[in-house]
């Protein structure tokens, strides 16, 4: 019964061997040639500006979170929009309920002045 899992084990071993093997090979065959470009932090190929420890305003995070929160609703609204006619009234009611909850949330956010950058 345990032998059913043998291929899995084999895969695990192969994967490990691949990683370790490559590391060992590059260590053995390669010669270290450090340069300025190689020593810098890699960031999408762009030259680095400033330090990574710069501080952002906390509002930034708040806004980002809120953005994601309300952005995700599109993921639910779009499929419904694509099939709105077939789903009919039931779909409308269901999505309406969903939207109402979101609106309550939006109201809350606005009332708490979370969307205002300066306060």
């Amino acid at each position: 019964m345990l032998s059913d899992y043998a291929p899995l084990l084999l895969l695990l071993a192969l994967a490990a061997a691949f990683v370790v093997g490559n590391l060992v090979i590059s260590e053995v065959l390669g010669r270290p040639k450090p340069g300025v470009g190689k020593k810098t932090v890699y960031e999408c190929g762009m030259p680095i500006r400033g330090t990574a420890r710069a501080r952002f305003s906390v509002h930034y995070y708040l806004l980002a979170l809120l953005f994601i929160l309300f952005d995700v609703e599109a993921a639910f609204l779009l499929p419904w929009a694509a099939h709105a006619e077939e789903l009919g009234k039931a779909g409308l009611v269901a999505m309406g309920g969903f939207a109402v909850v979101l609106v309550v949330g939006l109201l809350y956010v606005m009332r708490k002045k979370a969307l205002e950058w300066d306060r």
Binding site: M1, L2, G88, K89, A90, V93, A94, V100, V101, V104, L107, Y108, R111
Partner: protein, 499 residues
């Protein structure tokens, strides 16, 4: 449209709770400052009342096997737990309204989150769908994290929330992993499908290692929620640090919902239908699982009790005591049979009364003095006799002495365990009960055995509303120790999972 209406009608309590949660939030936004505490609390209570009404109407009605597109189960079992949660929430809301410990601002959010946590408990208790179960658990947990840290600016409250989040995240992650393994093995997230599939696997007799791994991971998640050893480490810190009404919620409603999900999980997946007669291997596995739970139970109650012995902080002591009580309740779970599960329900109802009461007294004490030390309670009995007398009733029930409900609850747990053959467990539980007397009665000793002259704090009379709440709970605690036949029948009826 009709289909939708019909399906949704089975979750009217949940819809009602959601609606009132939103209302509570809006009321907080638009009511004039200073009055929101009363108003929001009032609306929350109204919502709970309405929810209870819908639950009451649902009780005893036979729904389709699994309404709401197969996601939910509406049965007496889930209704009992939902009523349980609503009742606990109502007391927590009332305690909060009468408490000065929570922040003066931000009442709306507090009640809103509380009601959302209740909603999570609702879903946790009434589904066979692993995904929905997990969502319910997360809704309940995330709401609890926020609530635990609600006393903003209080270091201990912050610490509590942080610890809770980290423990909770790990535990629910582990549990989710268990769920995925089950899904991988059976191809379904519905426990009613998983059960028969597992039965088939047992019949093939491939061994139990993969199933054991999956079950173990899932059990870890449940054990965390009910704070059973060895996943109990968060409990004392969180209980102590969180605002007292929140602690009450965690100790009663959250734990109850955890037990509901655990029972449903075990029933659907791991207990062979005795009438159909499962494969031999499954019977054996079910008993083995029961023995594992029995060992956990013994471990939990012993650890909880021994740790409680040394506590000086009342809330922390009650936290350890709640761990010990999780151990007692697990005794009933370990039997893996109808009688044991029924005794679990009975004990949870009893536990509801005595623990709400005990935490209520803690809140009264902390409110009037800002102190939570047991020794500083001295002389309280002479100063506030009513509160102290009710506290003695709760303590006696927590020890498990007649004529209180605590004794009857333990009686049925003991009976179920002994009947299943766990005589050793009953003896361990008995010794633990005797040990628990020592620390519970340190409270009684401080309140009554020290003379009034030693009292550290002047009298602050409990407000009539608060005294009435405590009295209701105390009367319930004693009443169910004397006239418990209706409750017994009710629990037995609600225990519809196992025939």
């Amino acid at each position: 449209m009709n289909l939708l209406r019909e399906e949704l009608s089975w979750i009217t309590p949940e819809l009602c709770l959601t609606l009132f949660a939103c209302v509570a939030l809006l009321v907080d936004l638009f009511v004039q400052k200073g009055r929101e505490s009363v108003m929001v609390g009032f609306f929350s209570l109204m919502g709970l009342l309405a929810t209870a009404f819908f639950l009451y109407r649902q009780y005893g009605v036979t729904p389709p096997a699994q309404p709401v597109f197969g996601c939910m189960v509406v049965d007496p079992f889930s209704t009992l737990f939902k009523l349980f949660a609503v009742g606990a929430l109502a007391f927590v809301v009332l305690f909060t309204m009468l408490s000065r410990q929570t922040r003066p601002d931000g009442y709306g959010e507090f009640y809103f989150i509380l009601l959302c946590a209740g909603l999570g408990a609702f879903f946790l208790a009434s589904t066979y769908n692993l995904l929905l179960m997990y969502l319910g658990l997360e809704l309940l947990s995330i709401a609890s994290y926020i609530l635990a840290g609600y006393a903003k600016g209080n270091r201990r409250s912050g610490e509590a929330a942080m610890k809770y989040v980290i423990f909770g995240a790990v535990a629910s992650g582990v549990m989710l992993y268990g769920f995925t393994l089950l899904y991988g093995m059976t191809g379904s997230i519905d426990l009613t499908v998983i059960g028969p599939k597992l039965r088939d696997q047992f019949a093939l007799d491939h061994g139990t290692i993969p199933i054991s791994v999956a079950t173990g991971l899932c059990l870890a998640g449940f054990a965390y929620k009910i704070s059973a050893a060895p996943f109990h480490f968060w409990t004392p810190d969180v209980y102590e640090g969180a605002p007292t009404p929140v602690t009450t919620f965690l100790a009663v409603a959250s734990k109850g919902a955890g037990f509901a999900a655990l029972l449903r999980f075990l029933q659907a997946g791991f207990i062979p239908d005795r009438t159909l007669g499962g494969p031999e291997a499954m019977m054996g596995y079910s008993d083995k699982l029961g023995t594992l739970v029995a060992v956990l139970a013994a471990l939990t109650m012993t650890l909880g009790n021994l740790a409680a012995l040394g506590q000086t902080n009342l809330k922390r002591m009650l936290a350890y005591s709640s761990i010990a009580h999780a151990g007692y309740v697990l005794m009933g779970v370990a039997t893996m049979n109808r009688e044991g599960f029924s005794s679990v329900l009975f004990y949870l109802v009893v536990y509801y009364f005595m623990n709400l009461g005990a935490f209520g007294v803690v809140m009264y004490y902390a409110n009037t003095t800002g102190d939570e030390q047991i020794d500083d309670l001295k002389g309280l009995g002479w100063r506030s006799p009513l509160v102290a007398i009710t506290m003695v009733a709760f303590l006696v029930a927590l020890v498990g002495l007649p004529p209180t409900a605590g004794f009857i609850g333990k009686w049925f747990l003991f009976t179920a365990a002994v009947k299943k053959g766990f005589l050793w467990l009953a003896v361990v539980a008995g010794i633990n009960s005797a040990i628990s007397l020592f620390y519970y009665f340190r409270v009684a000793r401080a309140m009554w055995l020290r003379p009034e002259e030693e009292a550290k704090y002047a009298t602050v009379h409990a407000s009539p509303a608060f005294a009435a709440l405590l009295l209701v709970l105390a009367v319930g605690t004693v009443w169910f120790g004397v006239g418990f036949d209706s409750l017994l029948r009710y629990c037995d009826y609600s225990q519809n999972l196992l025939r």
